[in-house]
Point group: D3
Chain length 253, copies 6
């Protein structure tokens, strides 16, 4: 298969258009899509959250010549080529990055983050229509401690911080995969008792606590790798003639 056919399958599950729609909605930035093409046939695909040296070595060892990352392998525009990016290109490996579109997809990262925490009946915070969008609000009935322990068990990480009244009964959670929680999101999902996200800034946590809320700050990697693996499995099924493997970066969990 050629890279364009592969890309069609990737796009079918998480259309690139979702990234453009979400950028427009929040006046944001992304660089998803084919970042480096491959001329010949795709012999195998590695999926990974980030393009790293170990990930490229893993692709070479597995005979793959395409890496699909979640975080754009080039984010801010660059003036020279080095590190894992150069290693990747020197090895003739192509790169596709699927970022905000996978965050927002119908069965994307944000959907799976909420679902794993028990959120079957989800409301979408930044709603792009058709079940797509960023941020989820959903019902639970638990203490923060229960939710923290659930997170540790399901997402296989101990990198979890709790802020707020530990005895508070949580009825509604608002979750945002990656680093998407700011004051604006707290306002948009003000019905929640608990906010879950990553890389949360001090003044944002304080803002939530001043309003009687709690915050669960989890590692960025753990909040996204779970859903990105679901995406991988979904695409793998569509491309069942192509070797698809997932690269784990356990030290980032």
């Amino acid at each position: 298969m050629k890279i364009n056919e592969i890309f069609s399958a990737l796009d079918e599950v998480a259309p690139l258009k979702l990234s453009h729609d979400f950028q427009k909605m929040i006046d944001g930035y992304d660089n998803s899509g084919i970042l480096a093409s491959v001329d010949g046939d795709i012999k195998g695909i590695v999926f990974a959250l980030d393009l790293t040296d170990a990930c490229v070595e893993f692709a070479i060892k597995n005979g793959c010549n395409l890496i699909v990352t979640h975080h754009p392998a080039i984010y801010a525009p660059i003036k020279s080529i080095d590190g894992a990016l150069r290693k990747c290109l020197n090895s003739g490996i192509g790169i596709v990055s699927m970022h905000l579109n996978v965050d927002c997809a119908k069965e994307g990262i944000d959907y799976h983050l909420a679902k794993a925490l028990g959120g079957d009946n989800q409301k979408i915070v930044f709603d792009l229509d058709c079940g797509c969008g960023y941020g989820r609000v959903f019902d639970v009935d638990a203490t923060i401690n229960d939710i923290k322990n659930n997170y540790i068990n399901i997402f296989k990480t101990e990198n979890v911080m709790v802020f707020g009244d530990r005895d508070k009964k949580i009825k509604k959670i608002a979750s945002f995969c990656g680093s998407g929680l700011d004051v604006k999101e707290i306002e948009l999902a003000s019905e929640a008792d608990l906010y879950i996200s990553s890389d949360i800034k001090h003044h944002v946590i304080l803002y939530a606590l001043e309003r009687g809320k709690c915050v669960l700050c989890v590692s960025h990697y753990s909040s996204e790798v779970f859903g990105f693996k679901k995406y991988f499995e979904n695409v793998k099924e569509k491309l069942n003639d192509t070797n698809c493997v997932f690269f784990e970066n356990a030290q980032m969990l």
Copy 2:
């Protein structure tokens, strides 16, 4: 005592000039100083990391009419007055914020963060002369696990995340109180094996791990309240005729 005399004592320990010098050095922003004055005598002073509703109530209950915060009570310029800030002003309480100058002071927050972790022989990363500046590099001989447990014991918080190879022997730590760790800081303190800071972004952690380093991400509050309390004790001694009390915000630890 009048507010200007109080301010002199505060400034003696952590001169406002340090904030201006550090802003110039990193092309940064701060809003330290007297943010709201008091006409009469200062009857008592509350020290707190942040201006919150509970903190203002605490000041009223303790008969204090001045609050000294670490984080500026007004950061981005404002167009109306509400929340804890209005409550504070409505109660006739003045506000002084001492931020980057306390971070950088000779015996400031960064100094005490490093010292508590065993860093007696500190090198300053952003050096403002005379033992002042931001960021510290120092020698240790421990595993990350030891360091994590030390942090939990000394700083009285469980909100600590570990990234990188858990078995790595750590010889040098670079610590930055608050949210001061970015790619530039990793480069400036490239001799460190472990970086300690707060609110660290995913790509910064990844950058460190790609270079074989480890990262300890601790809660912002815990990384600063420890040193700010030392500042409080230092100032309290100088103002021994004035009632000085410390306000704890345990839910942010």
Copy 3:
């Protein structure tokens, strides 16, 4: 009554929406609305063109805990709180500012400025529909000297300057309360023989005179306090259970 009920009455006569509409029309700036709230009941209201020390003292003496100003008590965003603003907040007094919306209201400042000068049949220059908008053009039949003397008598001030041919017969006046006269306004109301406004720049006066027009430059305060008092009287009637008093600043006339 609570502040929100008071604000409803203020807004009914001069809807805040007019400020937003006018800002959009001229790509301008304003900061009208509730700038500092009050938790308890409103015991009395002072109306004043500007927030000054004397005005706050007047409010305290009259047992009022709300001041409604015309000019925004905070205009450019601020980083600390001092002067009359701090005195006001320290005294537990709330602040509402009603600026461009009162300029443009159906029976607002600009309407009353023109009406007092004999302009019953007014054309609106910046027309926001429904009889609202900024700037008025209307018919008269007088010499400039007559108009100047009228102004002095009606608006109770001697702070009036005359530019242009003193013998000219005036058939049409264009008036703009406050400092709203620039080259653009002269063009938009080019049928006028005489322009009346405040704080007019030299090159704007010259531009009018080069086209054979005359200019009456009156004190900013006098051009607005007249109409703002009409607004006060209008609102006072609606709030007849609340003590409403007007604060005069005679030295600014």
Copy 4:
């Protein structure tokens, strides 16, 4: 004489360098210098505060082919040529504008404004060395009313407004020709009891009155034409072989 020789004489009394120095000091803008040259001999020179149609006609009638204005005949850069500027060029008349340099000159406009009001012993507010600079502070002993009447008599205009306590005894005046009074100037000349300038904005007058000061707001033209005529007389003497005449614009007084 050629235009360059004329310019040398103009520059000797009020060096263009002063304009550049003052622009740099206040981060300001000016467009002084030769704005349109003349190829042949200069047959006569008209001096005027502003380039107007009547001024060009006056030059033609007087056989002059050079106009020296105070305010730049082109201020903001232009994309087409019309009005008095085109009339001037079509008549083969050259243009020199001498603005901030004449304001700031040793015996410039600001110097003569202060001197005429009795300010022999002047302090310069924006000091460019050698007795040059903008703004003057000087001693008097009079009521505002006396000063107002003096102004009316000396500067031959009734366009004068008074703000503040009319009974106040004035010991020190700060004067700024043209529209140069803002909050910053009040602070720099805070020892003054009375500020004199033109086109003063409402909030600047208010700022002065809040600090117990008085303000005399005079017409821009009257505050400058007096000193510019002194400049004219000074230059005329140096160019005693060239016909130099002054154009008055009485309607702007």
Copy 5:
């Protein structure tokens, strides 16, 4: 005839509106229209690509008091008046510039450039409707050498450069009068084998050659004077009572 009647005739053939439409389409800049008016009757008109000293002298010698240029006589806004522009104004000669509108007109410069090269059946690249717009694509059947020689013969210039495979058979040409060829235009007219334009940058030529295309870079003057003369002839016919002459600048060919 007055200048406004002349302008109507000029505008009828190449409506100013086309300049505004094209500026909006490409987010571009122009300064077409009457740049300096004439009060009396127009005695004669000189048409020229650019306003130069020689062109003004030519107008004087021919008793003309209006010059119609293609390139705006004032492009970037100006702060003083000198050179040919001053000479022109000093001689009482008015200026009209007709730039992007003549480029884009139905029978404008771009139309005639393509037509002279055999392009009867033209496709418009930037299509402004009604046969107007910028850039033309058309069919030919020739070698580059033939086309180059054609250009030299028809446009009377030897200032022609050829880039690319000299033996290539050309089936389609894309032409852009003046300096309008950039990477974007190559993409928009990607069906062409040969691009013709002026002042082409090195990286643009390289971009075309990398895609197997050829480039003919001709002098800016020659690519436009041909079509501007057609415009002149067209207007001259409409103004058959007014003396219309064309000024050639042979050294720019």
Copy 6:
């Protein structure tokens, strides 16, 4: 040899510092240096003016794994990797670009351009000291036609345009390799009779002709490849153990 040793040799002849110095002098932009590194030994080096597909194929065929270009292979920062750049990286070939530093070097491109045209006694226009800098002025005694024919013979191209009086005697030439001639350069080298450069804009040619000057506009490639080949020969000698070959792009001449 490793890439760093190769770079040292390249830098010795044309120090990167010259690019930074010249950027600072003219407030310009460049992206010279190692743009993509090579891990192993350098087996051979191709020198070329630009990175093109044919150039990469040439490198592969010649067993080279480093390409040294004059024009930066990445100029504006990029967000994806394609075309010749990707082909180059996929083939494991490194990239060094040496741009403004080779233009300005002591025996750099500008030096050789002038020398070939007979300019032994050169004055540097943008002088960076030590015989380095951009732009040269030098003496000749010839007609433009002679100079044009010289250029055609020496630089092996017919892509040359002549503007101005063809009969003029040329005593002084100012030459600027690449596209470096603008109005500012004409002013800085106003003693020249003839300006030689590439990609010259219409209004710049016109500006020169209005001042009685002539202009020779040559193809960008021809004005630089001559001097870049001299740089290649110079470096080749220093690296006599490494295979160095030059790639010609004849269609750009």
